[in-house]
């Protein structure tokens, strides 16, 4: 079975806010643009598939988190 590892934190570390184009093996950033349009334009020279993802965002509202706090119990 094919194994896929994507570490978005590692990929986006130190990136300026904007959009990045990620290599198909999810190991490096190939392009960066302040906007998605800028990033896709820069990516035109690449033949491989590029995955776009915003950089400089907090993704804390992507997934639901319940913070019970240190002194709270269920």
């Amino acid at each position: 079975m094919k194994q896929v590892k994507i570490n978005i934190v590692k990929l986006l570390k130190g990136q300026k806010p904007g959009w990045v184009g990620i290599s198909p093996d999810f190991k490096k950033i190939l392009v960066w643009g302040k906007t998605l349009d800028e990033a896709t334009q820069k990516a035109e020279k690449f033949k491989e598939k590029i995955y776009y993802f915003p950089a400089g965002e907090s993704y804390s509202n992507f997934v639901g988190i319940i913070d019970y706090g240190i002194n709270n119990t269920l």
Binding site: K2, I6, I8, S60, V63
Partner: protein
């Protein structure tokens, strides 16, 4: 085709230990293509994309009558669209919902789309999930 995909940490959540099941996906609308990384959400009734992603795919979502939806956080307006998608070698069509006013990165695949196309086994104790796409004749 089967895939084992390891959960990914998310920026802003490193200290929480939260890891997310993410999957690479390419959406296709006529000649436009857009590849991104989507959240696999068994709690989501249907998939969603942001208006930024919809615009990149040249989806004329403003011309599609809006409907109302709700999530745990709030209500939202969305525009349903039919679109094609590809995950590695597996191609399929699905109905996605273009949601107004959400973060640009938001792309979620849910029960009415991805979960109807594949057997998905979450292995939280291994921080990964397995996905095996169904074969259709």
């Amino acid at each position: 085709m089967g895939l084992t995909i390891h959960y990914s940490p998310l920026p802003g959540l490193e200290k929480t230990g939260v890891l997310a099941p993410m999957i690479p996906v390419t959406f296709k609308n006529a000649r436009r293509e857009f590849s991104t990384i989507a959240l696999v959400d068994s709690g989501a009734e249907a998939g969603i994309i942001s208006t930024v992603i919809a615009d990149k795919l040249n989806i004329k979502w403003r011309k599609i009558p809006a409907k109302s939806g709700f999530s745990i956080g709030s209500n939202f307006r969305f525009h349903p669209v039919d679109i094609n998608a590809q995950i590695y070698d597996h191609k399929f069509s699905l109905k996605l919902n273009v949601v107004e006013g959400i973060f640009a990165f938001k792309c979620i695949l849910g029960r009415k789309d991805l979960f109807k196309r594949a057997k998905i086994c979450f292995e939280g104790y291994k921080n990964r999930f397995e996905i095996i796409f169904r074969e259709f004749n």
